[in-house]
Symmetry: C2
């Protein structure tokens, strides 16, 4: 997604933001969008203006704000700044364009125009980066401006600058995180309150953590986009979010949470990336984590990222992964950084993309929905065993209120994921099966 075609670093162009006669720099901001994050940013700039000026010597002036509907009530927002014409924002003598529209168009067109006009851009828009990142970063490198995107991943957690700057001297080979707050909120409710997926999702929607159409979140695509951005920074190669193997959380049932607990695990929505040298293992899926795994303690809507550097060792960053003010905090950090340090962008070699790693192996928990419970463990265990999947634990339970229906739950010894998938396909065709089996990978201690 986030590719820069620049191999040779150019001498940095003169900073666009010039120091004022008093020594303070005044930075003119043009805002595209005035939704939740936009209003959060205005509130934050207003509230902490003096603090930021003291700390960084930067003074902000918002020149124009693009909105769709000029007539809508926006308490606390200066009406005279509003416009419904993007040109008025981009071409209005601002220094930095802040894109908070979300979605791909018209954000892409406006951002490209700003870059062509020699303006640095700050964006919270991971969908834009996922679909048009490569072309936008190439254009930015050409004009010598910068695209700040701290807010596009994990909102308030400064993970982008950590990978860019804090770990700049480290070879990172593994990155593992909880990158989708909605999924983590749902799985935490299912773990701690025994709720069903549907009921936990409704609660997330009620609290504003989940969209009306939750598929981006609960099917893993949101986490995949974030993982692609982080992995590209960590591993220094171009990564397409479509290369991330994705499994959602819709099929999880209270049974699976009970089983996790009984076996000493916690079910968490995991995003995992590993550079194996000549290939990349990139995946998003629910996983069983040992209760003493660092990510097992990350609850509700919190996000966390675990990074392994060859020098710094294992680092864990945790915080709010979404929300108006946490996202605005990240946007503001990019704005200040561009104002202070000019447009020196983070650069990758124009490295070739790496292929997907062959399927790894792991231990798995598998639940088979079955009819005719008595005797069925034997049939499933035999089918698994004949294909080389060996079992460390098996149990069967009845589904309450559904006479004759049950679940066979299996803990498989270490096996290759692709072999297990084929085996499950075969077992699914047994006449005793009442639905799709659910297989959940078990992560070992971190």
């Amino acid at each position: 997604v986030v590719t820069e075609a620049v191999v040779e670093a150019k001498a940095r162009p003169e900073p666009r933001v010039k120091p004022s006669p008093t020594g303070r720099r005044t930075v003119k901001l043009g805002l595209l969008g005035c939704g939740t994050v936009g209003r959060g940013l205005l509130e934050l700039i207003d509230r902490n203006r003096a603090l930021i000026e003291e700390r960084a010597g930067v003074r902000f002036e918002v020149t124009k704000i693009l909105v769709r509907d000029l007539k809508k009530e926006r308490p606390g927002v200066d009406r005279s700044l509003l416009t419904d014409r993007a040109e008025e924002v981009v071409a209005n003598g601002c220094d930095i364009v802040v894109e908070l529209l979300g979605g791909i168009e018209p954000a892409r067109t406006f951002v490209a125009r700003a870059i062509a006009d020699g303006k640095s851009v700050v964006t919270a828009n991971k969908a834009l980066l996922a679909s048009a990142g490569a072309e936008l970063f190439r254009a930015a490198a050409k004009t010598g401006v910068r695209i700040g995107f701290e807010a596009s991943v994990c909102a308030g957690i400064p993970i982008i600058r950590t990978l860019e700057s804090g770990l700049v001297g480290n070879r990172v080979d593994t990155l593992c995180g909880i990158l989708n707050g909605t999924s983590n909120f749902i799985l935490t409710r299912m773990t701690e309150l025994g709720e069903s997926f549907e009921s936990a999702l409704q609660e997330a929607q009620k609290r504003g953590f989940a969209e009306a159409d939750p598929s981006l979140d609960v099917d893993g695509h949101d986490a995949a986009q974030k993982l692609a951005i982080l992995s590209e920074l960590a591993f220094g190669v171009p990564i397409d979010a479509a290369a991330v193997k994705v499994e959602g959380i819709r099929n999880l049932e209270p049974e699976d949470f009970k089983a996790a607990k009984e076996l000493g695990y916690v079910l968490k929505p995991i995003a995992f990336a590993q550079d194996t040298g000549d290939a990349l293992d990139l995946r998003v899926h629910p996983a069983f984590l040992p209760v003493d795994h660092t990510l097992a303690h990350v609850r509700f809507e919190d996000n966390a990222v675990l990074v392994k550097g060859d020098a710094a060792g294992e680092l864990i960053f945790r915080g709010k992964g979404a929300g108006s003010l946490p996202t605005a905090s990240a946007v503001l950090s990019d704005i200040v950084d561009i104002a202070r340090n000019g447009s020196a962008p983070f650069r990758f070699a124009d490295a070739p993309a790496k292929p997907a790693a062959p399927d790894g192996h792991a231990r798995f928990y598998i639940r088979f929905p079955v009819i005719d419970v008595p005797g069925v463990i034997g049939r499933i265990a035999t089918a698994l065993g004949s294909r080389g999947i060996s079992i460390s634990h098996a149990s069967a339970t009845l589904v309450p209120g559904k006479p004759g229906h049950g679940n066979v739950k299996i803990l498989a010894h270490d096996c290759r994921a692709s072999v297990l998938a084929d085996t499950i396909d075969a077992v699914s065709r047994l006449p005793v099966l009442a639905g799709r089996p659910v297989a959940i990978r078990i992560l070992e201690a971190n």
Copy 2:
């Protein structure tokens, strides 16, 4: 410690590190010291040279290395770079001076000379910052160079740049962490293996986590120095490490760990800083943490910092707080940052220092070593009650192998720390007391 007297940000001087004709910048490094961290840095530069060049467009050249003893064996270090004269390092056309000597003198003199010579400095030396930070930062601001000190606190955890840059738009009012790995290692052994303080300390020394003289670590001064540096960045006011109230961990006994466990807590070495508006509450002490507190899971030599920002919310950073390569990783991140972004330092207003906050209140666990155990709970409880300390839980245990000796353990309801201290002083004078009571603050959920 880390004060900058600069109120008005000056226009940034031209970066000293000029782009080379090929576009790469070559950065010449002069090293003061070639101990554990110095050799780690050389190893890391050597190992990840190509990676850093790709990422940041920066190429390193080590010009000279100051050592005390030229004849000592240093496997892997180019002998021709060694010198025992500091001038050869500082005045040898290097761009950045990396100070890894430790201790105050001669580090202070050499760093001051480098700054006067217009060179930025990177240091891992928190004792130097604690004792001479103010003068060095003032000098650096005057010559327009920078002092990088990411490595001085929590080694591999990029907490300095997080406070400087990631949270630049946030008002931070609370900072709580485990900043001393040695103390955390010792308390973890005492918690999980039931060891005595002495035996856990010996193990820490055997593994190289503790110095022969461990007092800086176990008496809390090391954590206090780190807390002062972090708090100064977080709160934007000058802070003297001597203003941090310090309690060490030497008096803790296996009894206290048993009590913690029984009551649902974990004993951890905590550093806590809070800006209450017109005062600062700064303290380092062992504390009882609820088992589900984020910092309760930080084990052995790991460090962690919890920061509360008014926009980003609660953030937690965790990782290795010491060691050759983690520290070298932080040193390298500062070197790259100075090479890429020049010498724009983080600036504070010349804010007046804040006074110490009046003693707060909390719940406490108190252990009274006693003789004549029978009946003694009543005498102690009465003494506490008569001074307004109310008790939620009391128990008495015998000390094995010491007939007639025991411990009375009290859980006090919320009370003012100063009132409790006075009360404990009074109770200490009761004839049944066999030693100094130990009072441990209870932190509530984070």
